[in-house]
Structures are given as C-alpha cells and as structure tokens.
C-alpha cells in the first residue's frame, strides 16, 4: 500500500548536539502550548465548580431535575434551561446541516467555477456578523415574518403534531433554533466544503466509469467518502449552537418552561447566565448561576465525547464497507 519510501531510514545520521537543540526546544514549546490549552479547560471547570459549591451542596442532583427557578425564595433548578439548550441546538442542527452540506455540495460539485468564490465570500461574511446583530435582525425582521407567515403555515399544515400547537407569539423555541441555525451555517458549510474538496477525483472518475449518473456519483463516491468529515462539521456546529447566547436570548422568549410545542417560549443555559448574572446579589443565587455554567460545560464535553464515539463507529462502518 505504501508508495513513499523514506530515504534516510536505513542510514541514521548521528545528530550533533547543535542540530538537536532547536528540535528539542520546539518539542517542549509545542508541549507547553498543548498543556496550556488543557490546563485552561481544567481551570475553567475548577473555577466554575468553586463558584457553585454552595448551590451544589444545597440542592445536590435535584438541581438537574428541578424545574423551579425562583431567585426570590432562593430555589433553583436547571431542567428547563438544559431542555431549552438541547432542543434549540437540535433544531439548529436539523436545519443547518442539510442546508450547509447541500451548499457545500453545490459549491464543490455543481457550481460554475466563476460563481464559487462569490458564494464562498458571502458565506464567510455571514460568519463575521456579530451575534447581537443577528439578534436585532431576529427581533425586528425574522420573528415578525415567522409569526405572520411561516408559523401560521406550519400550524395549518402540521398542526396535528404536538410540536406545532398552542398560541403563536413569535419569540419561541423554534425562532431561537432558526436563529442559531443561521449562525452555525457558515461553519458547517465551510468545513463540509473543505471535506468535500479533499475527496480524490479518482473516486468520482471511478464512479463515472461504472456508468453512474451525476447524483449517483455524489451519493456513492463523494458523500460516503466524506461522511465522517461531514459528521465532524455537524459536531463543530453543535458546539457553537450549545453556547450561543446573545441572539438566542433576544428571540427565544426567555421563559423557563418545558413545552412540547415549538411555538412556546423557552430558555437556554447561556441565556439565563447572561441575563441574570449582573444583578444577582445573594450568594446562593450567584452560586446557582455558576452551576448553570458548569452544567453547560459538562453538556458540551459530554456531547463532544459522544460525537467522538459515534465518529469512531462511523469510521469502522465506512472502512468495512470499503472492503
């Protein structure tokens, strides 16, 4: 299988101490950089834990399953926020991944070369728009439109599903998910495009040689080859979606409530911390907010770990298929 031979492997040259010195120092420098990153995460986790000890001690695991969030009587529970974070991120993924991958496919497989660069530039611009701008646009443009047209249409056509029932206010879990979808679209698209670009042309040519149509080439040769990378793109998008704060806060309705309907307002972990941290005065209140941060960090790590595992099994499956 190996085609490249390493030329200097048979005759090792004894390195002089002079030539080893930069090698070594670079090795240590790189190690230091890597350890700094790991240390940073550990430090963040530790600080969050330290800041939330009071609340952890007071509520224990109940904090994770209780739905009550009452700063006046100092009773705190995180469940509606965990629910809101996961659901809004899931909505965002369901919208952004197909859209992003389709865009990436169009850009790599179909678009005329002249069109590619302008489209890529526009997508990258989308990534440069600050969160709060998306939020303002969400309040004044997107949400009214969703409320008056899209949500009504959804209710009329799919109203038999519990997902699309109840009164339509505008600010809602679905609006939050859609805003996040727009925000993670650039990263999903860019990463997918890089992955698709890395699919060797040999694959495509082989499929064409077997008499495959354009669609079949994309399906068999390109997507199945790039499946793992596309999954990775989705995971990156999910990571951003979980932590998205400003824009979500502005359109999600900020109501700590668990509702089956996507038209109902929701609340996310990041939003409540951003909203309430500045005016929190009691110790337990502050500790509870810190614990929300800790929960968010834990969810992010957990989701990433699960994604890694899935990635591995996916890789195994793809490998088996190739043989």
């Amino acid at each position: 299988m190996r085609t490249v031979t390493t030329p200097d492997s048979p005759a090792p040259v004894k390195p002089t101490s002079v030539s080893r010195w930069p090698d070594r120092s670079f090795h240590w420098l790189a190690l230091l950089a890597a350890l700094t990153l790991v240390g940073l995460i550990v430090l963040v986790g530790w600080e969050l834990y330290r800041g939330s000890r009071l609340s952890i001690h007071q509520f224990g695991p109940r904090f994770l399953v209780s739905s009550q969030w009452d700063p006046v009587s100092d009773v705190y529970g995180a469940l509606p926020f965990i629910f809101g974070t996961l659901v809004s991120s899931l909505i965002a993924l369901v919208i952004a991944v197909p859209l992003g991958v389709a865009t990436a496919l169009f850009l790599t497989e179909m678009a005329p070369v002249r069109l590619r660069q302008p489209i890529i530039t526009v997508i990258e611009l989308l990534a440069a728009v600050p969160s709060v701008i998306f939020g303002l646009w969400g309040i004044f443009v997107l949400v009214p439109w969703l409320r008056d047209h899209f949500f009504r249409w959804l209710k009329d056509s799919l109203g038999f599903l519990p997902l699309f029932t109840g009164p339509i206010y505008g600010p809602s879990m679905l609006a939050g998910g859609i805003i996040v979808a727009i925000m993670i679209l650039p990263i999903v698209t860019s990463v997918s495009r890089e992955i698709l670009r890395s699919v060797p042309n040999l694959q495509r040519e082989a499929a064409y040689a077997l008499g495959a149509t354009h669609w079949e080439v994309i399906r068999i040769a390109v997507i199945s080859y790039a499946r793992r990378g596309i999954f990775g793109a989705a995971v990156l998008g999910l990571g951003r979606a979980l932590g998205e704060t400003m824009a979500v806060t502005m359109v999600i309705g900020n109501r700590p409530e668990i509702s089956a309907s996507l038209f109902a307002p929701g609340y996310t972990l990041a939003s409540v911390v951003a909203n309430e941290f500045t005016e929190a005065t009691s110790d337990l209140y502050l500790n509870a907010l810190f614990e929300l941060g800790l929960v968010l960090l834990a969810i992010t790590i957990l989701v990433n770990a699960v994604a890694q595992l899935m990635l591995r099994s996916l890789a195994g499956g793809a490998g088996a298929k190739a043989h």
Binding site: Q68, W69, D70, P71, V72, S73, I139, F140, V143, P144, R147, P167, Y169, G170, P171, T249, M250, G253, N254, R255, P265, Y267, S271, A274, N275, E276, F277, T278, E279, A280, T281, S282, L286
Partner: protein, 334 residues
C-alpha cells in the same frame, strides 16, 4: 547624555502631571448611568484635578465590588439586603441620588389611553386576567373600546432594577403576588414572555398586538410608546411624569438609613411605580485624599447636579430629602 537626561525629566514631569489628576472609580447600576456620566463630565469643569470612572456593570456587581473595596463607590438600583450589608467591613451607607418611574406600556388597536389599578395589573401578571375586555379592565375604562383580544404579558428577562421596582409595587398592592412571586431583580414570572432590556420589552410590545409590558419612563418617552395611568394609594389615576414621581418621593416615608421603597406612595398626585437609585459609600473613607474629593463631588451633585436630572428624564430629589442626604454626606469621614 544631555538629551537622555532631558527626556527622562520630561517623562517624569508627564508622570507627575498624570498622577496629579486623581481617578475615582465606581461601578454598579445601569439605570442611572446616563445622569452619572453627565455629572462626571460636568464636574470636571468644577474641579479639573479629579476624574471619575464609572462602569455600569449592574447592581449585583456594584454591591460586590464596594464590599470587596475594589472601587471607591458602588451604585445599586435596589437597596442592599441585610445579609449583604452585614458583609461590609465597616459602616456602608446608601445615598439616594435620583428617582425614576416604571411605566406600563401596551399595544392596542387605535390610539387608546387606558387606566389601570394595582390589583388588576397584578392579576394580569399573575395570568389570572387574560383578556383585554375583562370586566376588571373595562370597568375602569368606561368609554374605551377595549378589544376582545388575549393579553400577552411581557416582562424583563434580564435581572434589573426596573423589575425590582415593578415587582415591589405588585407585592405592595396584591397579597397574592406577594406570596406567590415576591419582589426581586429577577423573579419566577407566572406568565408571559421575557424581553432583554428596555429595548427587548419595548420591541415585543411594539410587535405583538395585545401585549402589555413595563419599561422605564425615560425609555418610553424617548421612544414615544403609549403608557397607562395608574391608580395610586389615594385613589387617583396618575399619569407618570417627572412631577408625579417627585410627588411620590415627597410623600414617601424615608428612614434614616435611606433604604426605602417609594412604591404606592400615599401622595395625592404620586405616581405609584417609582424608585430611587443609590450610591454606596463607606462612612469612613480609606483614602483621605480621595474621600475628600468624593464628598466634594457629592455635595455638588446634591445642589447643581440635581438640576440636570429632569432634562434627562430622571426625577430629582425634593428639597427636604436633598437636605437630609446632604447632612448625611457631611458625616462621611476621611
């Protein structure tokens, strides 16, 4: 050599002149930020040797920072709790500066002007009164064509002094609100949508027909939003204005530590949903030079500074209260 010496001297002179201008740091409440900025700016014309640096990081942050003495003064929209005050290393004083009103704004078809009383407002926010044509509302508004529409309740989602004043008022006028919800910068809202900041609440009111929400008077005036007249403790419906807030302040009972609530004030023309904002200052200043400058500034703020309030939609303190606060400022030691 000579050149180097001159450069050195020049640098030293620069450093000396920079340190001659004293910097006094403060942090806290965002509601009074506009007038504080104005004060600090104007005060440089009175005394150019001092400069103020104020950061509107929120009342929670203001209380925390003055307790740990990382700032020279704190600021808060709500009075400090006894528990927090007990953490202070020595006597920490509340000094009221200006007052503001919270208005109830709404979105109804037509150019309607409505009137509400406290229990009705509490009923709406408790989710008990859900329609605009409910008898509780129409009974107070004879001749007003209230629509047969659902009420959409909007509240602040971020912790804020505005929410504190509003829930303080509802707790005063409604026993049910007091036991079920209570007062605070953030509470467990029984109904409605949350909007971030005055802008977030106002934005949702503007867009949702049938919405009701509460915002700062200054914000409502500057953005030309409609707001309701509210029934006060002496039974009159009062329009929120600077004057009716001053009237509320004048008739409020103010204890010696200045930690008071002025909602539902008994005055005849008093607007009921209003509150003051405070500076938090240690009785014994740590740095005597800074303390002297701070006291001089406060004296100025309670004389010339108060005159700037109304133009910025804040209510100045009535003369009697100003005199009391000034007497307290004079007791600050440095």
């Amino acid at each position: 050599m000579k050149k180097a010496l001159i450069t050195l001297l020049f640098a030293a002179a620069l450093a000396a002149s920079a340190s001659a201008q004293m910097l006094i740091n403060g942090a806290g409440a965002t509601f009074p930020q506009v007038i504080y900025a104005k004060w600090f700016d104007q005060y440089t014309k009175v005394d150019s040797s001092v400069r103020f640096n104020y950061q509107g990081i929120g009342s929670g942050g203001g209380q925390k920072q003055i307790l740990s003495e990382t700032v020279d003064f704190g600021a808060s929209d709500g009075p400090m709790s006894d528990a927090n005050l007990a953490k202070a290393p020595r006597a920490l004083w509340h000094i009221p500066t200006v007052a503001g009103a919270v208005v109830v704004s709404y979105n109804l078809p037509g150019d309607l002007k409505i009137r509400l009383d406290g229990p009705t407002l509490a009923g709406i926010y408790l989710g008990k009164i859900t329609r605009w044509d409910d008898l509780a509302i129409s009974g107070q508004n004879p001749g007003v064509a209230l629509p047969a529409q659902d009420i959409i309740v909007v509240h602040r989602s971020d912790g804020s002094g505005t929410s504190y004043i509003f829930t303080d008022y509802l707790s005063k006028v409604s026993p049910a609100w007091k036991t079920l919800v209570g007062k605070g910068t953030a509470v467990n809202w029984p109904a409605g949508l949350g909007g971030k900041g005055n802008a977030g609440v106002a934005g949702q009111i503007r867009q949702l027909s049938g919405a009701i929400g509460y915002i700062e008077l200054a914000y409502a005036r500057q953005n030309k939003l409609p707001y309701a007249d509210l029934k006060n403790a002496s039974g009159n419906y009062v329009t929120p204005t600077i004057d009716s807030v001053v009237a509320a302040l004048a008739s409020a009972t103010i204890p010696d530590d200045f930690r008071f609530s002025m909602v539902n004030s008994p005055g005849e023309n008093a607007y009921p949903i209003a509150g003051v904002t405070w500076l938090l200052v240690y009785q014994q200043q740590k740095d005597s030079a800074k303390g002297e400058k701070l006291v001089a500034f406060l004296k100025w703020a309670y004389t010339d500074g108060q005159k700037m309030a109304a133009a910025l939609d804040y209510a100045p303190l009535p003369d009697a209260v100003q005199a009391r606060v000034l007497a307290r400022v004079n007791e600050i030691k440095y």
